[in-house]
Assembly symmetry: C2
Homo-oligomer: 302 residues x 2
Protein backbone atom coordinates (compact mmCIF):
# COMPACT_ATOMS: atom_id res chain seq x y z
CA UNK A 1 0.00 0.00 0.00
CA UNK A 2 1.25 3.45 -0.96
CA UNK A 3 1.77 5.66 2.07
CA UNK A 4 -0.18 8.90 2.40
CA UNK A 5 2.06 11.95 2.47
CA UNK A 6 0.86 14.93 4.52
CA UNK A 7 2.10 18.41 5.30
CA UNK A 8 1.33 20.16 8.58
CA UNK A 9 0.32 23.76 7.94
CA UNK A 10 0.91 25.82 11.08
CA UNK A 11 2.95 24.98 14.16
CA UNK A 12 0.65 25.64 17.11
CA UNK A 13 -0.73 23.09 19.55
CA UNK A 14 -2.70 21.23 16.88
CA UNK A 15 0.23 21.15 14.45
CA UNK A 16 2.44 19.70 17.18
CA UNK A 17 -0.30 17.19 18.02
CA UNK A 18 -0.46 16.09 14.38
CA UNK A 19 3.26 15.43 14.36
CA UNK A 20 2.95 13.25 17.46
CA UNK A 21 -0.10 11.43 16.02
CA UNK A 22 1.86 10.72 12.83
CA UNK A 23 4.59 9.10 14.93
CA UNK A 24 1.94 6.57 16.00
CA UNK A 25 0.81 5.70 12.46
CA UNK A 26 2.68 3.93 9.71
CA UNK A 27 0.31 4.50 6.76
CA UNK A 28 0.42 8.31 6.94
CA UNK A 29 3.81 10.03 6.80
CA UNK A 30 4.98 13.59 7.33
CA UNK A 31 6.50 15.39 4.33
CA UNK A 32 7.18 18.53 6.34
CA UNK A 33 5.85 21.53 8.21
CA UNK A 34 4.82 24.80 6.57
CA UNK A 35 5.33 27.86 8.78
CA UNK A 36 4.93 31.59 8.36
CA UNK A 37 8.07 33.35 7.05
CA UNK A 38 8.53 35.13 10.42
CA UNK A 39 8.82 31.77 12.24
CA UNK A 40 10.97 29.94 9.70
CA UNK A 41 14.27 30.40 11.47
CA UNK A 42 13.08 29.54 14.97
CA UNK A 43 15.05 26.65 16.48
CA UNK A 44 12.82 23.97 18.01
CA UNK A 45 14.03 20.58 19.22
CA UNK A 46 10.73 18.95 18.10
CA UNK A 47 11.48 19.99 14.50
CA UNK A 48 15.12 18.93 14.40
CA UNK A 49 14.58 16.05 11.98
CA UNK A 50 11.67 17.59 10.08
CA UNK A 51 11.67 19.70 6.93
CA UNK A 52 10.33 23.16 7.70
CA UNK A 53 9.43 25.37 4.74
CA UNK A 54 7.59 28.56 3.92
CA UNK A 55 5.81 27.18 0.87
CA UNK A 56 4.29 23.71 0.53
CA UNK A 57 5.66 23.44 -3.02
CA UNK A 58 9.15 23.02 -1.56
CA UNK A 59 8.11 19.67 -0.04
CA UNK A 60 7.67 17.68 -3.26
CA UNK A 61 4.84 15.14 -3.30
CA UNK A 62 2.15 15.93 -0.73
CA UNK A 63 -1.28 14.27 -0.80
CA UNK A 64 -3.01 16.09 2.04
CA UNK A 65 -2.48 19.48 3.70
CA UNK A 66 -3.45 19.39 7.39
CA UNK A 67 -4.59 22.95 8.13
CA UNK A 68 -3.58 23.54 11.76
CA UNK A 69 -4.34 27.26 11.61
CA UNK A 70 -6.89 29.56 13.26
CA UNK A 71 -10.40 28.52 12.29
CA UNK A 72 -11.26 31.83 10.66
CA UNK A 73 -8.43 31.54 8.16
CA UNK A 74 -9.53 28.06 7.11
CA UNK A 75 -12.04 28.67 4.28
CA UNK A 76 -9.64 30.83 2.22
CA UNK A 77 -6.73 28.47 2.76
CA UNK A 78 -8.78 25.40 1.80
CA UNK A 79 -9.47 27.12 -1.51
CA UNK A 80 -5.79 27.91 -2.06
CA UNK A 81 -4.65 24.34 -1.41
CA UNK A 82 -7.48 22.87 -3.47
CA UNK A 83 -6.40 25.12 -6.33
CA UNK A 84 -2.92 23.56 -6.06
CA UNK A 85 -4.51 20.13 -6.53
CA UNK A 86 -4.10 19.13 -2.88
CA UNK A 87 -6.52 17.39 -0.56
CA UNK A 88 -7.12 19.17 2.75
CA UNK A 89 -8.26 18.49 6.30
CA UNK A 90 -9.22 21.21 8.77
CA UNK A 91 -11.06 21.67 12.04
CA UNK A 92 -13.08 24.78 11.13
CA UNK A 93 -15.45 25.18 14.07
CA UNK A 94 -18.25 27.63 13.27
CA UNK A 95 -21.15 25.17 13.09
CA UNK A 96 -23.67 27.50 11.50
CA UNK A 97 -21.38 28.45 8.59
CA UNK A 98 -20.35 24.90 7.66
CA UNK A 99 -23.16 23.93 5.28
CA UNK A 100 -22.91 27.18 3.32
CA UNK A 101 -19.13 27.19 3.00
CA UNK A 102 -19.04 23.49 2.20
CA UNK A 103 -21.19 23.99 -0.91
CA UNK A 104 -18.66 26.42 -2.44
CA UNK A 105 -15.66 24.39 -1.40
CA UNK A 106 -17.32 21.28 -2.83
CA UNK A 107 -17.49 22.84 -6.29
CA UNK A 108 -13.80 23.75 -6.10
CA UNK A 109 -12.81 20.28 -4.95
CA UNK A 110 -14.71 18.56 -7.75
CA UNK A 111 -13.20 20.90 -10.34
CA UNK A 112 -9.68 20.11 -9.12
CA UNK A 113 -10.36 16.39 -8.49
CA UNK A 114 -9.38 16.58 -4.85
CA UNK A 115 -11.07 15.72 -1.56
CA UNK A 116 -11.40 17.99 1.47
CA UNK A 117 -12.69 16.94 4.88
CA UNK A 118 -14.07 20.20 6.23
CA UNK A 119 -15.04 21.17 9.78
CA UNK A 120 -13.66 17.95 11.22
CA UNK A 121 -12.14 18.12 14.67
CA UNK A 122 -13.75 17.14 17.93
CA UNK A 123 -16.88 19.29 17.68
CA UNK A 124 -17.85 19.75 14.87
CA UNK A 125 -16.36 16.42 13.88
CA UNK A 126 -16.37 13.23 15.94
CA UNK A 127 -19.01 14.64 18.30
CA UNK A 128 -21.17 15.25 15.22
CA UNK A 129 -20.63 11.59 14.36
CA UNK A 130 -21.68 10.57 17.85
CA UNK A 131 -24.81 12.75 17.64
CA UNK A 132 -25.64 11.10 14.29
CA UNK A 133 -25.20 7.60 15.73
CA UNK A 134 -27.40 8.48 18.71
CA UNK A 135 -30.16 9.69 16.39
CA UNK A 136 -29.83 6.55 14.24
CA UNK A 137 -30.21 4.39 17.36
CA UNK A 138 -33.10 6.40 18.81
CA UNK A 139 -35.15 8.10 16.12
CA UNK A 140 -37.11 10.24 18.57
CA UNK A 141 -35.37 11.83 21.52
CA UNK A 142 -33.53 14.89 22.72
CA UNK A 143 -29.78 15.38 22.29
CA UNK A 144 -27.63 17.77 24.28
CA UNK A 145 -23.91 18.48 24.17
CA UNK A 146 -22.23 19.90 27.25
CA UNK A 147 -18.62 21.01 27.48
CA UNK A 148 -16.17 21.63 30.22
CA UNK A 149 -17.67 20.01 33.31
CA UNK A 150 -17.53 21.89 36.60
CA UNK A 151 -13.85 22.84 36.41
CA UNK A 152 -13.84 23.96 32.80
CA UNK A 153 -11.56 23.08 29.94
CA UNK A 154 -9.72 24.81 27.12
CA UNK A 155 -11.81 25.84 24.15
CA UNK A 156 -9.34 26.16 21.29
CA UNK A 157 -11.63 28.16 19.01
CA UNK A 158 -12.50 30.66 21.72
CA UNK A 159 -8.88 30.97 22.83
CA UNK A 160 -7.74 31.68 19.28
CA UNK A 161 -10.55 34.22 18.86
CA UNK A 162 -9.56 36.13 22.01
CA UNK A 163 -5.87 36.08 21.12
CA UNK A 164 -6.73 37.79 17.82
CA UNK A 165 -8.45 40.72 19.56
CA UNK A 166 -6.70 44.09 19.69
CA UNK A 167 -5.14 44.78 23.06
CA UNK A 168 -4.78 41.11 24.07
CA UNK A 169 -1.20 39.97 24.74
CA UNK A 170 -2.09 36.41 25.69
CA UNK A 171 -5.25 34.61 26.77
CA UNK A 172 -6.93 31.32 27.49
CA UNK A 173 -10.69 30.82 27.16
CA UNK A 174 -12.18 28.11 29.35
CA UNK A 175 -15.60 26.57 28.80
CA UNK A 176 -17.55 25.34 31.83
CA UNK A 177 -20.75 23.30 31.93
CA UNK A 178 -23.68 25.46 32.97
CA UNK A 179 -26.41 22.84 33.25
CA UNK A 180 -27.12 20.16 30.67
CA UNK A 181 -26.55 21.40 27.13
CA UNK A 182 -25.42 24.84 28.32
CA UNK A 183 -22.03 26.43 28.74
CA UNK A 184 -20.43 29.50 30.23
CA UNK A 185 -17.06 31.01 29.40
CA UNK A 186 -14.24 32.17 31.63
CA UNK A 187 -11.57 34.13 29.79
CA UNK A 188 -8.19 34.92 31.37
CA UNK A 189 -6.50 37.80 29.60
CA UNK A 190 -3.07 39.42 29.77
CA UNK A 191 -3.65 42.93 28.44
CA UNK A 192 -1.20 44.82 26.24
CA UNK A 193 0.32 48.01 27.69
CA UNK A 194 -1.67 51.12 26.87
CA UNK A 195 -5.04 49.41 26.36
CA UNK A 196 -8.16 49.96 28.44
CA UNK A 197 -9.50 46.74 30.02
CA UNK A 198 -13.08 47.88 29.51
CA UNK A 199 -12.54 48.35 25.77
CA UNK A 200 -10.83 44.99 25.43
CA UNK A 201 -13.56 43.24 27.44
CA UNK A 202 -16.24 44.85 25.26
CA UNK A 203 -14.49 43.64 22.11
CA UNK A 204 -14.29 40.08 23.46
CA UNK A 205 -17.96 40.05 24.44
CA UNK A 206 -18.96 41.38 21.02
CA UNK A 207 -17.13 38.56 19.23
CA UNK A 208 -19.60 36.01 17.78
CA UNK A 209 -17.74 33.25 19.65
CA UNK A 210 -18.96 34.76 22.93
CA UNK A 211 -22.34 36.37 22.25
CA UNK A 212 -24.40 33.23 22.91
CA UNK A 213 -23.10 32.29 26.38
CA UNK A 214 -22.47 34.02 29.74
CA UNK A 215 -18.87 35.21 29.63
CA UNK A 216 -16.67 36.30 32.51
CA UNK A 217 -13.47 38.14 31.63
CA UNK A 218 -10.61 38.24 34.13
CA UNK A 219 -7.52 40.35 33.56
CA UNK A 220 -4.45 38.69 35.05
CA UNK A 221 -0.69 39.41 35.13
CA UNK A 222 0.07 35.98 33.73
CA UNK A 223 -2.28 33.36 32.33
CA UNK A 224 0.19 30.59 33.22
CA UNK A 225 -1.56 29.23 36.27
CA UNK A 226 -4.96 29.23 34.55
CA UNK A 227 -3.73 27.72 31.33
CA UNK A 228 -4.52 24.15 30.32
CA UNK A 229 -4.81 21.97 27.23
CA UNK A 230 -7.36 19.73 28.94
CA UNK A 231 -11.03 19.71 28.03
CA UNK A 232 -14.02 17.44 28.46
CA UNK A 233 -17.42 17.04 26.91
CA UNK A 234 -20.53 14.93 27.00
CA UNK A 235 -23.17 14.16 24.39
CA UNK A 236 -26.44 12.77 25.75
CA UNK A 237 -29.61 11.59 24.04
CA UNK A 238 -32.65 10.56 25.99
CA UNK A 239 -35.61 8.89 24.35
CA UNK A 240 -38.71 6.99 25.38
CA UNK A 241 -37.00 3.60 25.17
CA UNK A 242 -33.28 4.23 24.94
CA UNK A 243 -30.74 6.47 26.69
CA UNK A 244 -27.25 7.14 25.41
CA UNK A 245 -24.26 9.05 26.72
CA UNK A 246 -20.80 9.70 25.24
CA UNK A 247 -18.07 11.24 27.33
CA UNK A 248 -14.63 12.33 26.27
CA UNK A 249 -11.89 14.01 28.21
CA UNK A 250 -8.26 14.68 27.55
CA UNK A 251 -5.84 16.95 25.78
CA UNK A 252 -7.95 19.01 23.38
CA UNK A 253 -5.36 19.76 20.65
CA UNK A 254 -4.08 16.15 20.73
CA UNK A 255 -7.64 14.89 20.27
CA UNK A 256 -8.22 17.26 17.35
CA UNK A 257 -4.89 16.28 15.81
CA UNK A 258 -5.68 12.54 16.00
CA UNK A 259 -8.98 13.16 14.21
CA UNK A 260 -7.29 15.25 11.51
CA UNK A 261 -4.64 12.60 10.82
CA UNK A 262 -7.40 9.95 10.59
CA UNK A 263 -9.28 12.23 8.19
CA UNK A 264 -6.24 12.33 5.88
CA UNK A 265 -6.94 8.64 5.25
CA UNK A 266 -10.56 9.42 4.41
CA UNK A 267 -9.39 11.99 1.83
CA UNK A 268 -7.26 9.46 0.01
CA UNK A 269 -9.81 6.62 0.22
CA UNK A 270 -12.37 8.95 -1.39
CA UNK A 271 -9.92 10.29 -3.97
CA UNK A 272 -8.94 6.73 -4.94
CA UNK A 273 -12.62 5.95 -5.61
CA UNK A 274 -12.99 9.15 -7.66
CA UNK A 275 -15.42 10.60 -5.10
CA UNK A 276 -14.02 14.13 -5.30
CA UNK A 277 -15.62 16.83 -3.19
CA UNK A 278 -15.64 18.67 0.12
CA UNK A 279 -17.20 16.61 2.90
CA UNK A 280 -17.93 16.95 6.59
CA UNK A 281 -17.08 14.13 9.00
CA UNK A 282 -20.46 12.39 8.76
CA UNK A 283 -20.48 12.49 4.96
CA UNK A 284 -17.67 9.94 4.62
CA UNK A 285 -17.89 6.30 5.78
CA UNK A 286 -16.22 5.77 9.16
CA UNK A 287 -14.20 2.91 7.70
CA UNK A 288 -12.36 5.38 5.44
CA UNK A 289 -10.82 7.03 8.54
CA UNK A 290 -9.39 3.75 9.88
CA UNK A 291 -5.94 2.28 9.16
CA UNK A 292 -5.47 -0.94 7.23
CA UNK A 293 -4.69 -1.95 3.67
CA UNK A 294 -7.47 -4.52 3.29
CA UNK A 295 -11.13 -4.74 4.25
CA UNK A 296 -10.28 -7.35 6.90
CA UNK A 297 -7.72 -5.07 8.52
CA UNK A 298 -10.03 -2.06 8.43
CA UNK A 299 -12.94 -4.08 9.80
CA UNK A 300 -10.89 -5.39 12.73
CA UNK A 301 -13.00 -5.03 15.85
CA UNK A 302 -16.24 -4.48 13.94
CA UNK B 1 -39.12 13.50 -1.83
CA UNK B 2 -40.27 10.00 -2.67
CA UNK B 3 -41.01 7.97 0.46
CA UNK B 4 -39.08 4.78 1.13
CA UNK B 5 -41.32 1.73 1.24
CA UNK B 6 -40.29 -1.10 3.55
CA UNK B 7 -41.59 -4.55 4.47
CA UNK B 8 -41.05 -6.08 7.89
CA UNK B 9 -40.00 -9.72 7.56
CA UNK B 10 -40.83 -11.56 10.78
CA UNK B 11 -43.08 -10.54 13.64
CA UNK B 12 -41.02 -11.00 16.78
CA UNK B 13 -39.82 -8.28 19.15
CA UNK B 14 -37.65 -6.60 16.51
CA UNK B 15 -40.40 -6.68 13.88
CA UNK B 16 -42.79 -5.05 16.35
CA UNK B 17 -40.13 -2.50 17.22
CA UNK B 18 -39.67 -1.64 13.53
CA UNK B 19 -43.41 -0.99 13.20
CA UNK B 20 -43.31 1.40 16.16
CA UNK B 21 -40.16 3.12 14.84
CA UNK B 22 -41.88 3.61 11.48
CA UNK B 23 -44.74 5.37 13.26
CA UNK B 24 -42.18 7.97 14.35
CA UNK B 25 -40.80 8.59 10.87
CA UNK B 26 -42.46 10.18 7.86
CA UNK B 27 -39.89 9.43 5.15
CA UNK B 28 -39.99 5.64 5.56
CA UNK B 29 -43.39 3.91 5.30
CA UNK B 30 -44.59 0.39 5.96
CA UNK B 31 -45.90 -1.60 2.99
CA UNK B 32 -46.73 -4.61 5.15
CA UNK B 33 -45.54 -7.48 7.28
CA UNK B 34 -44.40 -10.85 5.94
CA UNK B 35 -45.09 -13.77 8.29
CA UNK B 36 -44.66 -17.53 8.15
CA UNK B 37 -47.69 -19.36 6.74
CA UNK B 38 -48.38 -20.92 10.15
CA UNK B 39 -48.82 -17.46 11.73
CA UNK B 40 -50.78 -15.81 8.94
CA UNK B 41 -54.20 -16.15 10.49
CA UNK B 42 -53.28 -15.06 14.00
CA UNK B 43 -55.33 -12.08 15.15
CA UNK B 44 -53.24 -9.31 16.69
CA UNK B 45 -54.51 -5.85 17.57
CA UNK B 46 -51.15 -4.28 16.59
CA UNK B 47 -51.62 -5.56 13.05
CA UNK B 48 -55.24 -4.51 12.57
CA UNK B 49 -54.51 -1.80 10.02
CA UNK B 50 -51.47 -3.44 8.47
CA UNK B 51 -51.26 -5.75 5.47
CA UNK B 52 -49.97 -9.15 6.55
CA UNK B 53 -48.86 -11.54 3.81
CA UNK B 54 -46.98 -14.78 3.36
CA UNK B 55 -44.97 -13.59 0.35
CA UNK B 56 -43.42 -10.15 -0.11
CA UNK B 57 -44.53 -10.09 -3.76
CA UNK B 58 -48.12 -9.59 -2.60
CA UNK B 59 -47.18 -6.16 -1.21
CA UNK B 60 -46.52 -4.37 -4.49
CA UNK B 61 -43.67 -1.83 -4.50
CA UNK B 62 -41.19 -2.46 -1.70
CA UNK B 63 -37.76 -0.78 -1.62
CA UNK B 64 -36.24 -2.42 1.43
CA UNK B 65 -36.89 -5.69 3.27
CA UNK B 66 -36.19 -5.37 7.01
CA UNK B 67 -35.13 -8.88 8.06
CA UNK B 68 -36.39 -9.24 11.63
CA UNK B 69 -35.64 -12.96 11.78
CA UNK B 70 -33.23 -15.16 13.75
CA UNK B 71 -29.66 -14.18 13.00
CA UNK B 72 -28.67 -17.57 11.63
CA UNK B 73 -31.32 -17.45 8.92
CA UNK B 74 -30.13 -14.04 7.72
CA UNK B 75 -27.43 -14.83 5.13
CA UNK B 76 -29.68 -17.12 3.05
CA UNK B 77 -32.62 -14.73 3.23
CA UNK B 78 -30.49 -11.74 2.22
CA UNK B 79 -29.56 -13.65 -0.93
CA UNK B 80 -33.20 -14.47 -1.69
CA UNK B 81 -34.38 -10.89 -1.35
CA UNK B 82 -31.40 -9.53 -3.29
CA UNK B 83 -32.28 -11.98 -6.07
CA UNK B 84 -35.77 -10.40 -6.16
CA UNK B 85 -34.15 -6.98 -6.73
CA UNK B 86 -34.80 -5.78 -3.19
CA UNK B 87 -32.55 -3.88 -0.81
CA UNK B 88 -32.19 -5.46 2.64
CA UNK B 89 -31.31 -4.54 6.20
CA UNK B 90 -30.54 -7.08 8.91
CA UNK B 91 -28.94 -7.35 12.32
CA UNK B 92 -26.88 -10.50 11.77
CA UNK B 93 -24.73 -10.69 14.89
CA UNK B 94 -21.89 -13.17 14.47
CA UNK B 95 -18.98 -10.74 14.33
CA UNK B 96 -16.35 -13.17 13.10
CA UNK B 97 -18.44 -14.29 10.08
CA UNK B 98 -19.37 -10.83 8.86
CA UNK B 99 -16.40 -9.99 6.62
CA UNK B 100 -16.51 -13.37 4.88
CA UNK B 101 -20.27 -13.40 4.28
CA UNK B 102 -20.27 -9.78 3.22
CA UNK B 103 -17.92 -10.47 0.33
CA UNK B 104 -20.32 -12.98 -1.23
CA UNK B 105 -23.40 -10.90 -0.54
CA UNK B 106 -21.63 -7.89 -2.04
CA UNK B 107 -21.20 -9.66 -5.38
CA UNK B 108 -24.91 -10.58 -5.41
CA UNK B 109 -25.99 -7.04 -4.56
CA UNK B 110 -23.88 -5.49 -7.30
CA UNK B 111 -25.21 -8.00 -9.85
CA UNK B 112 -28.81 -7.13 -8.93
CA UNK B 113 -28.15 -3.37 -8.50
CA UNK B 114 -29.40 -3.33 -4.93
CA UNK B 115 -27.95 -2.26 -1.59
CA UNK B 116 -27.84 -4.34 1.60
CA UNK B 117 -26.79 -3.07 5.00
CA UNK B 118 -25.50 -6.22 6.66
CA UNK B 119 -24.83 -6.96 10.35
CA UNK B 120 -26.29 -3.66 11.48
CA UNK B 121 -28.06 -3.63 14.81
CA UNK B 122 -26.69 -2.43 18.09
CA UNK B 123 -23.56 -4.60 18.21
CA UNK B 124 -22.41 -5.23 15.52
CA UNK B 125 -23.80 -1.95 14.19
CA UNK B 126 -23.92 1.35 16.05
CA UNK B 127 -21.45 0.09 18.68
CA UNK B 128 -19.09 -0.71 15.79
CA UNK B 129 -19.56 2.90 14.68
CA UNK B 130 -18.76 4.14 18.17
CA UNK B 131 -15.63 1.96 18.31
CA UNK B 132 -14.56 3.38 14.93
CA UNK B 133 -15.08 6.97 16.11
CA UNK B 134 -13.12 6.29 19.29
CA UNK B 135 -10.20 4.94 17.26
CA UNK B 136 -10.36 7.92 14.90
CA UNK B 137 -10.20 10.28 17.89
CA UNK B 138 -7.44 8.40 19.68
CA UNK B 139 -5.21 6.54 17.25
CA UNK B 140 -3.45 4.56 19.97
CA UNK B 141 -5.38 3.16 22.88
CA UNK B 142 -7.31 0.17 24.16
CA UNK B 143 -11.03 -0.34 23.48
CA UNK B 144 -13.31 -2.62 25.47
CA UNK B 145 -17.02 -3.35 25.12
CA UNK B 146 -18.93 -4.56 28.16
CA UNK B 147 -22.55 -5.66 28.20
CA UNK B 148 -25.18 -6.11 30.82
CA UNK B 149 -23.92 -4.28 33.88
CA UNK B 150 -24.29 -5.96 37.27
CA UNK B 151 -27.96 -6.90 36.87
CA UNK B 152 -27.69 -8.28 33.35
CA UNK B 153 -29.77 -7.57 30.29
CA UNK B 154 -31.40 -9.49 27.47
CA UNK B 155 -29.12 -10.71 24.72
CA UNK B 156 -31.37 -11.22 21.72
CA UNK B 157 -28.94 -13.35 19.74
CA UNK B 158 -28.26 -15.67 22.69
CA UNK B 159 -31.95 -15.91 23.56
CA UNK B 160 -32.85 -16.87 19.99
CA UNK B 161 -30.02 -19.42 19.93
CA UNK B 162 -31.23 -21.12 23.13
CA UNK B 163 -34.85 -21.15 21.98
CA UNK B 164 -33.77 -23.06 18.87
CA UNK B 165 -32.17 -25.85 20.92
CA UNK B 166 -33.93 -29.21 21.14
CA UNK B 167 -35.76 -29.69 24.43
CA UNK B 168 -36.15 -25.96 25.18
CA UNK B 169 -39.78 -24.79 25.50
CA UNK B 170 -38.95 -21.16 26.29
CA UNK B 171 -35.88 -19.30 27.46
CA UNK B 172 -34.23 -15.97 28.09
CA UNK B 173 -30.46 -15.47 27.99
CA UNK B 174 -29.12 -12.64 30.10
CA UNK B 175 -25.67 -11.13 29.69
CA UNK B 176 -23.93 -9.70 32.75
CA UNK B 177 -20.75 -7.68 32.95
CA UNK B 178 -17.89 -9.75 34.32
CA UNK B 179 -15.20 -7.11 34.63
CA UNK B 180 -14.29 -4.59 31.96
CA UNK B 181 -14.61 -6.05 28.48
CA UNK B 182 -15.83 -9.42 29.80
CA UNK B 183 -19.25 -10.99 30.07
CA UNK B 184 -20.94 -13.97 31.66
CA UNK B 185 -24.27 -15.53 30.68
CA UNK B 186 -27.22 -16.54 32.77
CA UNK B 187 -29.79 -18.62 30.90
CA UNK B 188 -33.25 -19.31 32.28
CA UNK B 189 -34.84 -22.32 30.58
CA UNK B 190 -38.27 -23.91 30.62
CA UNK B 191 -37.62 -27.48 29.58
CA UNK B 192 -39.93 -29.52 27.33
CA UNK B 193 -41.51 -32.60 28.88
CA UNK B 194 -39.48 -35.78 28.43
CA UNK B 195 -36.09 -34.08 28.00
CA UNK B 196 -33.13 -34.51 30.32
CA UNK B 197 -31.89 -31.19 31.80
CA UNK B 198 -28.29 -32.37 31.61
CA UNK B 199 -28.56 -33.07 27.89
CA UNK B 200 -30.23 -29.73 27.21
CA UNK B 201 -27.64 -27.86 29.30
CA UNK B 202 -24.82 -29.60 27.41
CA UNK B 203 -26.36 -28.61 24.07
CA UNK B 204 -26.64 -24.97 25.18
CA UNK B 205 -23.03 -24.86 26.42
CA UNK B 206 -21.81 -26.40 23.15
CA UNK B 207 -23.51 -23.70 21.05
CA UNK B 208 -20.94 -21.27 19.61
CA UNK B 209 -22.90 -18.38 21.17
CA UNK B 210 -21.92 -19.68 24.61
CA UNK B 211 -18.52 -21.33 24.27
CA UNK B 212 -16.49 -18.15 24.89
CA UNK B 213 -18.03 -17.00 28.20
CA UNK B 214 -18.90 -18.52 31.60
CA UNK B 215 -22.49 -19.70 31.31
CA UNK B 216 -24.88 -20.60 34.10
CA UNK B 217 -28.04 -22.50 33.11
CA UNK B 218 -31.06 -22.43 35.39
CA UNK B 219 -34.12 -24.57 34.75
CA UNK B 220 -37.28 -22.83 35.92
CA UNK B 221 -41.01 -23.54 35.81
CA UNK B 222 -41.68 -20.22 34.10
CA UNK B 223 -39.22 -17.69 32.71
CA UNK B 224 -41.75 -14.88 33.21
CA UNK B 225 -40.24 -13.32 36.28
CA UNK B 226 -36.71 -13.41 34.82
CA UNK B 227 -37.68 -12.14 31.41
CA UNK B 228 -36.82 -8.63 30.22
CA UNK B 229 -36.31 -6.66 27.04
CA UNK B 230 -33.87 -4.31 28.77
CA UNK B 231 -30.14 -4.34 28.12
CA UNK B 232 -27.20 -2.05 28.63
CA UNK B 233 -23.69 -1.74 27.30
CA UNK B 234 -20.59 0.36 27.47
CA UNK B 235 -17.76 0.99 25.01
CA UNK B 236 -14.60 2.47 26.50
CA UNK B 237 -11.31 3.55 24.96
CA UNK B 238 -8.41 4.71 27.05
CA UNK B 239 -5.36 6.28 25.51
CA UNK B 240 -2.33 8.25 26.65
CA UNK B 241 -4.01 11.61 26.10
CA UNK B 242 -7.71 10.95 25.63
CA UNK B 243 -10.36 8.82 27.35
CA UNK B 244 -13.76 8.06 25.86
CA UNK B 245 -16.82 6.22 27.07
CA UNK B 246 -20.17 5.48 25.39
CA UNK B 247 -23.06 4.08 27.38
CA UNK B 248 -26.41 2.90 26.14
CA UNK B 249 -29.29 1.36 28.00
CA UNK B 250 -32.89 0.63 27.13
CA UNK B 251 -35.16 -1.75 25.33
CA UNK B 252 -32.89 -3.97 23.23
CA UNK B 253 -35.27 -4.88 20.36
CA UNK B 254 -36.54 -1.29 20.11
CA UNK B 255 -32.95 -0.05 19.83
CA UNK B 256 -32.18 -2.61 17.13
CA UNK B 257 -35.38 -1.74 15.29
CA UNK B 258 -34.59 1.99 15.28
CA UNK B 259 -31.17 1.29 13.80
CA UNK B 260 -32.67 -0.98 11.12
CA UNK B 261 -35.25 1.62 10.06
CA UNK B 262 -32.47 4.25 9.88
CA UNK B 263 -30.43 1.82 7.76
CA UNK B 264 -33.30 1.58 5.25
CA UNK B 265 -32.54 5.23 4.44
CA UNK B 266 -28.88 4.40 3.92
CA UNK B 267 -29.86 1.66 1.43
CA UNK B 268 -31.85 4.07 -0.69
CA UNK B 269 -29.31 6.92 -0.48
CA UNK B 270 -26.66 4.51 -1.76
CA UNK B 271 -28.92 3.00 -4.41
CA UNK B 272 -29.81 6.48 -5.68
CA UNK B 273 -26.10 7.23 -6.13
CA UNK B 274 -25.59 3.91 -7.93
CA UNK B 275 -23.36 2.65 -5.12
CA UNK B 276 -24.73 -0.90 -5.19
CA UNK B 277 -23.31 -3.47 -2.80
CA UNK B 278 -23.52 -5.09 0.61
CA UNK B 279 -22.15 -2.86 3.35
CA UNK B 280 -21.69 -2.95 7.09
CA UNK B 281 -22.71 0.00 9.26
CA UNK B 282 -19.32 1.72 9.15
CA UNK B 283 -19.02 1.40 5.37
CA UNK B 284 -21.80 3.91 4.66
CA UNK B 285 -21.64 7.62 5.58
CA UNK B 286 -23.55 8.35 8.80
CA UNK B 287 -25.45 11.13 7.01
CA UNK B 288 -27.14 8.50 4.80
CA UNK B 289 -28.90 7.05 7.88
CA UNK B 290 -30.42 10.39 8.90
CA UNK B 291 -33.79 11.81 7.84
CA UNK B 292 -34.12 14.91 5.68
CA UNK B 293 -34.64 15.70 2.03
CA UNK B 294 -31.84 18.26 1.68
CA UNK B 295 -28.27 18.54 2.87
CA UNK B 296 -29.30 21.30 5.28
CA UNK B 297 -31.97 19.12 6.88
CA UNK B 298 -29.67 16.13 7.13
CA UNK B 299 -26.86 18.24 8.58
CA UNK B 300 -29.11 19.73 11.27
CA UNK B 301 -27.22 19.56 14.54
CA UNK B 302 -23.86 18.89 12.90
Amino acid sequence: MQKISVAIIGWGNVGRGCKRALEETSDVVLAGVVRRPVSLNKQEPELENTRVVGDIKELGKVDVALLCIPSREVPERVKEYQAMGLCTVDSFDEHERIVGLKKDLDINAKAKKVVSIFGTGWDPGTDSGVRAIMKIASITGHTTTTFGGAKGGRSMGHTAAVKAIEGVRDAVALTLANGRGKQKRKVYVEIQKGFDPEDVAARIKADPYFTADPTEILFVKSINKYNTLHHEGEVERTGMQVNQKYQVDGNNPELTANIMVSAARACIASRDRGEYGTYTFIERPLIDYLPGATLDEKMEGY
